[in-house]
């Protein structure tokens, strides 16, 4: 049985600075961290800022660091946390703080714009549609499960510690690129951009992103490594390089 009250240390503040503040609330069975935040907001401090939408793990709005681990607050049950000591709630540390638990994630949206969009190959059927087998869409479908919570970006040391926001697009956007590259109807070539503009080389496969993904996408193994392999084939394999130079293959 879980205890009837719990204590939370929640980061309160803005870009200028802040501090943890302690809240104690009554809890009930099945509550998730986001419920606790809402209860504090409704009963103790109406100004406590939190971003959320669906409260069902489908929209990826309520990403934060719970006891130091990047999580979705709506999918983290209090019963799974140690409640004999305070639960700490902090905003994602990789992004600029707006207020309390809310960060400015707009960099992700701006950076996505720099990735070449889908460019379709000619249709397969006279009615303008394509034929794709399920086995050919299984892999990109895995990537399209992404809910853009940006927890993978938050935990990636290239962004979090080295702050290479202008040189590296991060795991989320590599997954996005992989999904486009593996879409059976796509005809664009993003490999040069990946190498020169989007900094795929900065990923040194520590797999932290995969660990925190709430959709359990195998980010490193299934998206980033295959992209790296394609890139090696395209730019470092002598025959492919020649073919590429002659414009024979994209």
């Amino acid at each position: 049985m879980i205890p009837s009250t719990a204590t939370f240390l929640i980061w309160r503040g803005d870009a200028q600075g802040g501090a943890f503040q302690e809240y104690r609330i009554g809890i009930s069975e099945g509550m998730v961290v986001l419920d606790a935040v809402h209860r504090i907001q409704a009963e103790q401090d109406n100004t406590l800022a939190v971003r959320w939408n669906c409260k069902a793990g489908k929209c990826g709005s309520c990403a934060a660091e719970v006891n130091g681990r990047p999580r979705l607050m709506c999918m983290t049950r209090l019963g799974d946390l140690a409640l004999d000591r305070p639960v700490t709630l902090e905003p994602m540390r990789t992004f600029p703080l707006l207020r309390d638990l809310v960060t400015d994630v707009s960099w992700n949206f701006r950076t996505k714009l720099a990735i070449q969009p889908l460019r379709t190959r000619p249709a397969d059927a006279p009615d303008g549609t394509w034929r794709m087998m399920q086995r050919d869409v299984d892999r990109p479908q895995e990537f399209r499960k992404c809910i853009e919570c940006f927890l993978c970006q938050d935990v990636c040391h290239v962004l979090r510690d080295h702050r290479l926001f202008d040189r590296y697009i991060g795991p989320r956007l590599l997954v996005y690129t992989a999904q486009l590259e593996m879409n059976p109807i796509d005809a664009a070539d993003r490999l040069g951009d990946l190498k020169d503009l989007h900094g795929i080389g900065y990923c040194n496969i520590t797999k932290c992103c995969t660990t925190v993904c709430p959709e359990e996408i195998k980010i490193t193994d299934n998206a980033i490594i295959p992209l790296k392999e394609r890139l090696v084939d395209a730019f470092y394999d002598p025959l492919t390089r020649l073919a590429r130079a002659l414009g024979l293959r994209g």
Partner: protein, 605 residues
């Protein structure tokens, strides 16, 4: 007077779910300068939660399907008070909207020969729902988002619109504020498209996200537009009932589509006990036939679990009320039982219903491949909304368009599963198209500065009240409002209870005038809630007044004091609009259906 930033767009779209994004893409393709204002970050709108699929008569799985069958299914589901023109356009245009999504990058589940797969759903005669597992809404919104961002559309994320600006009966723009910074913006626009979604947050038990506060309906109403069909609120039969913190969370109809069955605490499949007349010929009379239907046997009829949502919800309520419910006040929804039929059923369930498997395992500690779920009805969808022209989606205010859940008409008295996502695509596109065309020929009309000032002054009032005297909490009023709507204007309604609800709403309105908030305007949820509350009060009153007026039971609107359908009401839509002395409800006869459409309905009966 607080400062504001002035912005100009030919077409302003309010809302960035499926309908708003599709409208923006179309308006932009027409050459209009387009701005999209949305309350959340891009790609987070409530559309993301849609699970089951998009209804479109593509006939990929069953060649007997075509627009005429889809049209008649939609009308039957809506109990014939739908806007028939919308039902016709929707059925005809949905397949093209799907093909377009695929060309924009959507990857739907496939048939054996590499085309788009379709699945069965309640009320649809043939396998019709285009889907991706049980995360179709995410696929749709991400596709529209990733396509839309390259179309030169300006997005204003985490903005809330306080009011529309009007000049006579013409909309000329909107006043909004940035939720992040608390600063104000005045959008001047030749045309405005409302795509703000539903109203579910005015009920305690709901599947809806926080955004669904009926903003578009309230904005349109205050601008003088007509609302219609407000009495028709859909209660989805299967929401989670336990644990309490997730009560209302949707359990997709695909669970039943994949063979899941409803049972009471005596193990009885109670849906066999009460099959509505209109569906009797299409419904299986034994369990074996129902199972074969879910597995694609084209000669089998649907199991009774897959009749329309209004009916299933009421049957569940009956079981619970009569003491045959599950331990936490629901009934059992069992998909685990298919282990008797399918080898490796656990893997099968995880592949077909991945989100459901996850949701129950993570939030309730229940493995749905092994044990039944507990489910009960949850407020899910608003059939009613802004009254629009079926072709152009224009409202009764010039230049003001509406599409998707915030518009009324397509679904009549009850929506079929899957018809919502297709609604967003078909009518989002039409709203964007006609808004851009309107903008092309319209002159700019400058916003009235007095209106602008009044809107901004009103929006910041809650801060002044908090300083002036002891104020009421917006959260407290909201909680009471949701409780009241749940208890008095819910699935089973009576005139007496709804009269009581109107009294309660009047008191909330008075209290809302005394709501105070502390802090500043920088990302202040207390303030946001106090402004949402105004909208929720208008919408709740409209639901209540319309429901009180319709003295019959039809579709999702069920009156204990008028339990039967009434032929006279079958020819009437109720329209709600602002009048000098408050809110007026007027009867509007349905327009005569063309002979050709009548013949289709007759033929498909």
């Amino acid at each position: 007077m607080l400062a504001y930033e002035a912005i100009r767009h030919d077409v302003l779209v309010i809302g960035a779910g499926g309908a708003g994004l599709r409208a923006a893409i179309e308006a932009s393709a027409e050459g209009a300068s387009v701005g999209v204002v949305c309350k959340s970050l891009l790609g987070k709108a409530h559309t993301v939660m849609a699970e089951g699929g998009i209804a479109a008569a593509m006939a990929n799985v069953d060649e007997r399907d075509n627009w005429r069958v889809h049209f008649s299914d939609t009308m039957r589901g809506g109990q014939y008070v739908n806007n028939w023109r919308m039902a016709e356009l929707h059925a005809k245009e949905a397949p093209e909207r799907i093909r377009e999504l695929e060309a924009w990058g959507a990857l739907f589940d496939r048939t054996g020969d590499g085309r788009i797969l379709q699945r069965h759903f309640g009320g649809h005669r043939y396998a019709r729902l285009v889907h991706v597992g049980d995360r179709t809404g995410l696929e749709m919104i991400r596709t529209l988002q990733d396509h839309g961002i390259h179309r030169g559309i300006e997005f204003y994320m985490e903005f809330t619109v306080c009011a529309l600006l009007t000049e006579g009966n013409r909309v000329v723009g909107a006043v909004a504020y940035s939720r992040e910074k608390g600063t104000f913006f005045v959008f001047q626009a030749k045309a405005v498209v409302l795509a703000t979604g539903g109203i579910g947050r005015s009920y305690r038990i709901t599947s809806n996200s926080w955004e669904c506060t009926g903003d578009g309906l309230a904005l349109a109403y205050r601008a003088g537009a007509e609302l219609a069909d407000m009495e028709f609120v859909q209660f989805h039969p299967t929401g989670m009932v336990w644990p309490p913190s997730v009560a209302g969370l949707l359990v997709t109809e695909s669970v039943r589509g994949e063979g899941g069955v409803l049972r009471n605490n005596q193990g009885r499949r109670f849906m066999f006990d009460d099959i509505p007349e209109a569906y009797r010929a299409q419904t299986a009379d034994n369990e074996e036939e129902g199972w074969r239907y879910t597995q694609g046997d084209r000669n089998a009829r649907r199991p009774p679990e897959l009749v329309t949502r209004d009916h299933v919800a009421r049957c569940i309520v009956r079981e619970i009320k009569e003491g045959r419910g599950s331990p936490h006040g629901g009934v059992f929804l069992d998909i685990a039982w298919i282990r008797e039929k399918i080898p490796n059923s656990a893997e099968h369930i995880k592949r077909k219903l991945p989100s459901m498997y996850d949701q129950f395992l993570k939030l309730a500690g229940i493995d749905i491949t092994k044990v039944p779920m507990e489910v009960g009805p949850t407020t899910h969808y608003m059939m009613g909304g802004i009254r629009v022209d079926g072709d152009s989606q224009v409202s009764s205010v010039e230049g003001l368009f509406a599409a998707g859940e915030c518009a009324a008409g397509l679904h009549g008295a009850n929506r079929l599963g899957g018809n919502s996502l297709s609604d967003l695509l078909v009518f989002g596109r039409r709203a964007g198209l006609y808004a851009a065309q309107f903008a092309r020929q319209a002159q700019w009309v400058e916003a009235d500065q007095n209106q602008v000032h009044a809107v901004i002054a009103h929006a910041v009032e809650p801060f002044e009240r908090a300083a002036a005297h002891p104020a009421d909490s917006p959260y407290r009023i909201l909680e009471e409002l949701r409780e009241l709507m749940q208890n008095l204007v819910g699935i089973v309604r009576t005139g007496e209870e709804m009269t009581q609800a109107l009294d309660g709403l009047a008191k909330f309105k008075e209290r809302a005038l005394r709501v105070g908030v502390v802090g500043n305007r920088f990302y202040n949820p207390g303030w946001h809630t106090s402004l949402d509350l105004d909208n929720q009060l208008i919408v709740s009153e409209a639901v209540c007044r319309a429901a009180l007026t319709r003295s019959e039971s039809r579709g999702a609107h069920y009156r204990l004091d008028y339990p039967n359908k009434d032929v006279r009401w079958g020819h009437i839509n109720l329209v709600v609009r602002r009048a000098d002395d408050g809110m007026a409800v007027v009867e509007r006869p349905l327009p005569e259906m063309p002979q050709e459409l009548k013949a289709i309905i007759e033929e498909m009966k």
